[in-house]
């Protein structure tokens, strides 16, 4: 494997582009929900933007991801078109899944988003299967399973890591450790200091990385994706981060330590990285402002598209159960 090359300005700005697109969408989702224009269970990824952004610049459209209910950042970073994404979250027929999946079940194979699951831990067994198909066919595709720290305590995690290791599957397990399993603080429910330690039990590389540091995250992503693609098997990445909001929109998050939260928000990775890009001359203020402005226009269009789109016809209830409509 080649030694790690720090990302070019182009890649760094691409990471930021995805990060700010996530942040801007999240802010709009929350304001639109708060205004009562859309009704959905919404799991804000705010604060976790770096992880899928740095992962995704190492992936292609041919690579697969499986993500979870808190996964809208993973989808945006992987390139799901905003109009179809918004319309899906709005339950509209123009959504990625005709409005039949919703925020916890977005699928968009064209951008490689194969499964979004509402079941903690269930992204991993299916990512293995996607990787298995690539391995059997001799393809160079990689599958990424995103999940949270809480999911590392469910059986599917352990079964999946073991199987991926035994079969040397081209899969990357990316644990977004945001410190909370729903309402329960990490240490209360997890036996190890770092989830990456669990990789030892499955004889695969396990790395703990600052998931809010785009360059550190990119390095971990690059190495894991290259390892998977070159036949070196799976990696467990534990990306430490923090969830700026409660578990689900509307959750008063009284169980979160206010000081801890304030400290993380003060280190919000999106504005910090933005300033760093400008200071290090990877981008200019004008360039990034124009990018953000363009994003706002895209989001305006996606919201408008969603609100003006029809809901699915009730006939959809009988469709997509099986390939052919059958009377049960």
């Amino acid at each position: 494997m080649n030694a790690y090359q720090p990302p070019s300005s182009e890649v760094l700005v691409d990471i930021y582009r995805r990060m700010t697109l996530i942040k801007q969408n999240d802010e709009r989702f929350r304001s639109v929900i708060k205004a009562g224009k859309l009704v959905m269970p919404y799991y804000s990824p705010r604060g976790q933007e770096v992880i899928p952004s740095a992962m995704s610049v190492c992936l292609t459209d041919d690579d697969y991801i499986c993500t979870i209910y808190r996964g809208v950042h993973d989808m945006i970073a992987k390139g799901v078109p905003l109009k179809a994404l918004w319309a899906e979250l709005g339950g509209r027929v123009t959504g990625t899944c005709k409005g039949k999946g919703g925020p916890m079940h977005v699928t968009h194979p064209a951008s490689g988003v194969m499964v979004t699951t509402g079941i903690v831990g269930s992204s991993m067994p299916i990512a293995n299967g996607l990787a298995l198909a690539a391995q059997i066919r001799g393809e160079s595709r990689v599958a990424v399973a995103y999940f949270g720290d809480g999911a590392s305590n469910i059986g599917a995690f352990h079964e999946s890591l073991n199987m991926a290791s035994v079969w040397k599957l081209p899969v990357v397990f990316v644990c977004q450790n945001n410190g909370y399993a729903e309402h329960t603080k990490y240490a209360y429910g997890t036996s190890v200091a770092n989830i990456a330690q669990r990789a030892v039990a499955y004889q695969m590389p396990g790395v703990t990385v600052n998931g809010n540091d785009p360059i550190a995250m990119h390095k971990a992503a690059r190495e894991a994706v290259d390892r998977a693609r070159s036949g070196g098997g799976p990696t467990l990445i534990e990306a430490n981060t923090f969830r700026f909001h409660g578990h689900v929109f509307g959750d008063p998050d009284a169980y979160m330590d206010k000081h801890e939260k304030a400290a993380w928000v003060a280190k919000d990775p999106v504005p910090l990285f933005r300033q760093w890009l400008i200071d290090a001359k990877h981008a200019t203020e004008d360039q990034l402002a124009a990018m953000e402005s363009e994003h706002e226009a895209q989001i305006d269009a996606a919201v408008e598209f969603t609100l003006s789109s029809a809901f699915p016809d009730v006939a959809e209830l009988a469709r997509d159960i099986f390939k052919d409509e059958v009377i049960a």
Partner: protein, 330 residues
């Protein structure tokens, strides 16, 4: 192919179906505990010879990890593979229920038809071998209650062959239930390469007095009961469902409209079972034409017991079926 036998058992029948499907389509893969020849080709040998013929990349023995087995099958199937995953015993599906129910069955619907999960989950079960409470349950009603998964229940070797071919070719997930105690019972050999459609029942005995609806192993007891009843001048029409979901309601109703009497027989425990669903469908459509209440025959509502006299009493036998048929004629 060597000279085709005229009589085979279900182990051979399923093996032939897997072999023929793997030969025809490189996307067909087999995974499960002990399925490769290094592990003796499965605990009863259903997959024997396949890994030697097709390689251990396509025929993979797995760790004892039912969630990971079904998950791997799901993921591979979503991108065009045709995995046949073995969950050794039906009770072990309970530790993979999330993958089967929340994912395999629902991904087509939740994705708005963008993805599908053409997997087959093979599993075996059935009382009679003294395996006790955790190795012999018939749980087909659990799965039939979930939209998006087909539940296939062959009663004999030839059907097992033809239905397995259909399951592998089907674009949706299929749960394929094999009866363990009758694995070695001989039956007619199937015509190689000929599939039996899913969702179509088979009228295996014509009759005019009582319709007896069954599936899987219990069809064998039903046929014995029908033969005995014929000696008393009672003509049973026997329907082998072949598939529990989708359920071939038309064939059931056509027969019951003719006979006016129905008995449903299954090895699963009676309460909340497939028999209740079938009885309801008959009542909904034919209430006024019925000459007697629909009878349900199932195992007693308790865990599968170990001790032989208890196990024998637990499952419905020929005498129980005869009694139920006679009850519709009183």
């Amino acid at each position: 192919m060597s000279q085709a036998p005229t009589s085979i058992n279900t182990i051979q029948a399923v093996n032939y179906a897997l072999d023929d499907a793997m030969a025809a389509d490189a996307n067909v893969i087999v995974l499960g505990e002990d399925v490769a020849d290094g592990q003796e080709g499965g605990i009863v040998g259903v997959t024997k010879g396949l890994s030697s013929k097709y390689g251990t990349s396509r025929v993979r023995s797995t760790p004892i990890s039912e969630q990971a087995i079904v998950g791997a099958a799901i993921g591979a199937s979503m991108v065009g593979m045709r995995p046949v995953a073995e969950i050794m015993l039906m009770n072990f599906t309970t530790v993979a229920m999330d993958m089967i129910v929340n994912h395999a069955a629902k991904l087509r619907f939740m994705s708005g038809g963008q993805t599908n999960v053409p997997i087959v989950i093979r599993t075996m079960t059935g009382a009679g071998f003294g395996t006790g409470g955790q190795h012999a349950d018939y749980l087909e009603a659990w799965f039939a209650h979930v939209a998006g998964i087909k539940v296939v229940v062959p009663s004999n070797p030839a059907d097992a062959y033809g239905l397995m071919l259909s399951c592998i070719r089907d674009d949706d997930p299929c749960l394929f239930i094999e009866n363990m105690p009758s694995y070695w019972n001989p039956g007619n050999a199937p015509e190689r390469g000929v599939a039996i459609p899913l969702g179509k029942a088979n009228v295996v005995r014509a009759g005019t007095d009582v319709t007896v609806i069954s599936y899987s192993r219990r069809v064998q007891e039903v046929m014995a009961a029908a033969e005995a009843l014929a000696n008393d001048g009672i003509a049973c029409e026997v329907i082998d469902l072949r598939t529990v979901s989708p359920l071939d309601t038309d064939t059931i109703l056509t027969s019951v409209a003719k006979t006016g009497r129905a008995v449903v027989v299954h090895e699963a425990v009676k309460p909340f079972g497939v028999g209740a669903e079938i009885a309801s469908r008959i009542y909904e459509a034919l209430f006024r034409e019925l000459k007697a209440p629909v009878q349900r025959v199932g195992s007693q509502f308790c865990p599968v017991p170990f001790s032989k006299p208890l196990e024998d009493a637990f499952v419905p036998g020929v005498a129980d079926i005869e009694t139920a048929v006679r009850a519709t004629l009183e």
